[in-house]
Symmetry: D2
Subunit: 343 residues, 4 copies
């Protein structure tokens, strides 16, 4: 069955498997100290234009959010995030597991609005009882968001400025960062992100790796003894090479960007199919995830031929569903979807 | 200066101090095993009409919420609460500190509406991805709420039925329970609460005690080895007598209810003062806390003569403030407020 | 029945109850901001000879240990303590509940030996894999120890020097500090302790208060937003006056030291009774707790007339039990014990 | 440089890489629900002789210990382990991070002795104050231990019986289980382990996988909603196939056992080299890790040619070091070591 279920239903980009095989018998020390991790760090730093950034590798996305947030926050602080943010709603309480609160803010198309953030921060410090409340200690953004939408450079700049005014670090969850960077509608570069954020991630799992997220601390702000903190959260891989080799490959010859662009191209064709077949969009997404509204009985019929993801109930008769494109999406997949929708 | 700052600005009801002095030289074992704790348990059980309820004593309100919620929830569960609930906003993340999420729901006048709860639960179990989300494992209500409002018997019955249908325990935070029970506008008795809730608290700190909250597990559902769990949360008082003697006194000859009624009577007079002096109410509260809207410059002038609490900004020129009555509020206090408002 | 069960079986020193009653109707703000808390802070600072120390009040001993340790430690750190330390063995895992490890060291008569500490620290930093281990981030001592023993000035100086060499804060749990200071065999003053420790506590619960421990941060090292951290651990009392008035009373006219000396005097008479009646000591304690070895059948008979505490099994036929003296121990209590032992 | 640094310095067994490549383009659902995970579960169940066991896959060893221990323990419980156990000393406090205590017991050659366990349990429940202590809620064993040693069937049976008598689950950490099963000196089969333990792991990372540990709950005792608990600990891999395919391969045609046997054979030759070259053993290990004592200057010279691991200081002039054999150890590696030792 053809699948648009997610961008992590196939294995790894073949180049990654090739490199894993080529390096397989090399004896390498564990825990991220090997030469491939070092090389990957260098390449990511170069891509970001940050010669001094600290780059660390972790296995999964929820894990990465929990590790970054809980090692950066002070005891009395929580993280601000949109109500629809991954950390707010789809990580089964992983942030709370670390003892910290997710302070939820309103959202618009999955994005945190600078004015809502400003209003929250002003009200917090204005409140005479704020010592009885969780302090805002970090701002979390996902880019692309959970709805595939993107921050503009103006929006990210506004949020970053607010964060600096209040002395609060800005964290961008880039689990699908490549798709944001390669979108045809973005004006944000990796360099902009590196400059405007205090810490951000470069997602591998959803961009062609078997697993792996790179964390970039941009301002010399890596928490002390970070490796020990990672270990005690159960997040330190013995064979760190598995992450290092993958990221080294992704950042060689622009593979990360080629993978991402391919998915964007497929997503544009996907949009064209929906337009052609009269399937309404839930919102306009310029990245690899497309959210459409299906009448429930049509959804059930379509499911017999095509895999996609339930997103949320729209009304009693309709459902919002997600179709995701990836590096491994093919023209045949699109044609099959087109036929299925036509039926 | 006359004070309506809160219901915990004076010490204890004199009867409590008298009993502490009378029993002071008795040798009693620690940790809640003494005869006064036992007697207080019996009296509270009798008041609730629950011969088998487990009653335990803790020192503070936030502590009690954290202990109860974290010992009742399973690992993968969070607690549902109104956005304005004490556990959501004014406990500095105490619930999250225990590793559990507060799942915030909309509110109306500080109350959780049965229909919002039902919609949330239906959507959660309907969501095909709910295994990636925090499970709702408890419903938290405060009664009176943080805005002094009260659930009706019909509302509490609706919420309780929903909880039972979904197998989710219902927890009522009764930090100010006495004021709810003695309100002139309530139709809920202590017996109703004992029947409809799985666990509830009888607040002492804000109802005439130096400190102390009684926790009532109504259905044989006290968590196993509760004392050990209390201890490891740092919440076990060595001299448990301090809590036992206070609650034994509060539940002797109806003192808890007399204290509460006195505060309600004073609150009704307080309302009359505001009405007379043209101070608008933020909402209608039938209990001892009254929320009014003051023009900012009037607020600043009033502050020189009367103590009250900042609640929240109303608009650029007005502020919502709280006045609380208690057992120790006097006619003179009310007269002084009246004069100050007249000025 | 006469009781030597512990030093917290009676209520509070009468002077404390008197002051609670005298101040009962004063309107005071909550959460430790009232004038009695301020006055108590001043008096404790003066006693310690530390004009700049930060003094905070908490309700219970285990709570205080958990709050202090978890707010001072960094994420990747644990606390070093003797195997018999209260935090290691008798707090039901309260330190681990905060996410931190207690790193257990050998003990001698309940005391941590400087040489064992030095060996541990040297080996830790010598170990090439120490990034995979919990970092030692604090040294915990109790003084008096759980066995009533005391550090000498030379021992405390040696431990303090080691801590400074390694940059590790030294924390003294003074739940029974008064008995240490008033012992006839100590050469350590409160000033010495204030100078040699980074944080220490002055216990109230076991020295005549209803509840309460004072925490003294001696080097401008109070954790930031400490009140918020206390609140989120459920440890912030609304009526902070309850702690402030008690400590203000204890540190007025030397009451804390008079209470302690009285207990020491009674403990010396207790020792004389055991000597006279041929009851062997488990170890030599110069403070208010005395540990003796009783043959099991004698222990059971004695229990019918005198209350004391089980400590640990000595061998199949003998048990180590504890007798504690306090401010409320009387000559009659001692005479009754003497008669019971004679029988 | 030839390396005996650990059993995780090379990549994966080539058969695993081959299977990853072969299945790479298959569309598979995430989070462990794919057909390879299902197949691997079946094969592991068959190997254990437990048709009903629940088998789950996690990425790393410390992660697995933390997830298993924290989901099985009740709130008031800790885990019993030898002082040298991985969870006690080399996981940077990962168990404490989950809020639970590791209750350390004495060890002999890395093993927990049944008599020490029995003495602990008897004393705990005998102690009249045990409600103030962490309850023993699980027994943790590593097999092979951190020193390469093995439990005999008689020892494991004795420990298992004790656990059942006290109603405490027995957990075996099998990070290197294959080497235990293929040791020439063991009398314990996988079936024995499955019968005697309540939960155990089958380590992949150190036995030829890129990453991955299989957890086997043997008695229908998998914690409820385990996937959600795994997710909130940041331990749920999106591409669960990475674990499923590896374990499916390892348990096809006995690969897991062939890999393990090969390492055991190499370890036996390693022992012969040490014997021949007069290098004394620190203790007798029948598995793939060998611990020897090197004079410090010899150690430094040897390090220039051969990689191995520092273990612990033996005395001022000697160090205990570890040499590990694995599936990728070659005869050439052994010959090179032999030459280096001869020099």
């Amino acid at each position: 069955m053809v699948s648009f279920e997610s961008d992590y239903t196939t294995g790894a980009h073949p180049e990654i498997l090739k490199r894993l095989a080529e390096t397989n018998l090399e004896c390498l020390s564990g825990y991220g100290q090997d030469r491939y991790c070092q090389s990957a760090r260098e390449k990511i730093r170069a891509c970001c234009g940050l010669a001094e950034a600290d780059v660390e590798f972790l296995a999964g996305g929820t894990q990465t959010n929990a590790v970054v947030i809980s090692t950066v926050l002070a005891d009395y602080e929580g993280v601000l995030a949109a109500r629809t943010a991954h950390v707010s709603s789809h990580e089964a309480g992983a942030i709370e597991y670390t003892g910290h609160e997710v302070l939820e803010l309103p959202q618009e198309n999955g994005k945190l609005r600078p004015e809502d953030l400003e209003a929250y921060l002003a009200a917090f410090f204005d409140d005479e009882n704020h010592e009885h409340m969780t302090f805002p200690g970090m701002v979390y953004l996902s880019h692309p968001t959970e709805y595939g939408t993107l921050y503009t450079k103006a929006e990210l700049t506004a949020i970053s400025s607010l964060c600096r005014r209040y002395g609060i670090p800005l964290f961008m969850d880039g689990a699908r960062l490549g798709y944001g960077l390669m979108s045809r509608e973005t004006d944000l570069t990796l360099g902009d992100i590196a400059e405007l954020c205090d810490v951000f991630t470069v997602g591998g799992t959803k961009v062609g790796a078997l697993c792996g997220e790179a964390v970039v601390f941009t301002k010399g702000n890596k928490p002390p003894h970070f490796m020990t903190s990672v270990k005690r959260r159960g997040a330190l891989l013995a064979k760190g090479r598995l992450l290092g080799i993958q990221f080294d490959t992704l950042f060689t010859d622009g593979l990360y960007f080629r993978i991402s662009r391919r998915a964007i191209d497929m997503a544009e064709e996907l949009k064209a199919v929906f337009l052609r077949r009269g399937v309404p969009f839930y919102l306009a997404s310029p990245t690899n995830q497309q959210f459409v509204i299906l009448e429930n009985s049509r959804m059930e019929r379509l499911r017999e031929q095509v895999a996609f993801s339930f997103w949320e109930r729209y009304d009693n008769d309709h459902t919002v569903v997600r179709f995701a494109a990836s590096w491994s999406t093919t023209e045949e997949d699109l044609a099959a979807l087109d036929r299925a929708l036509q039926a």
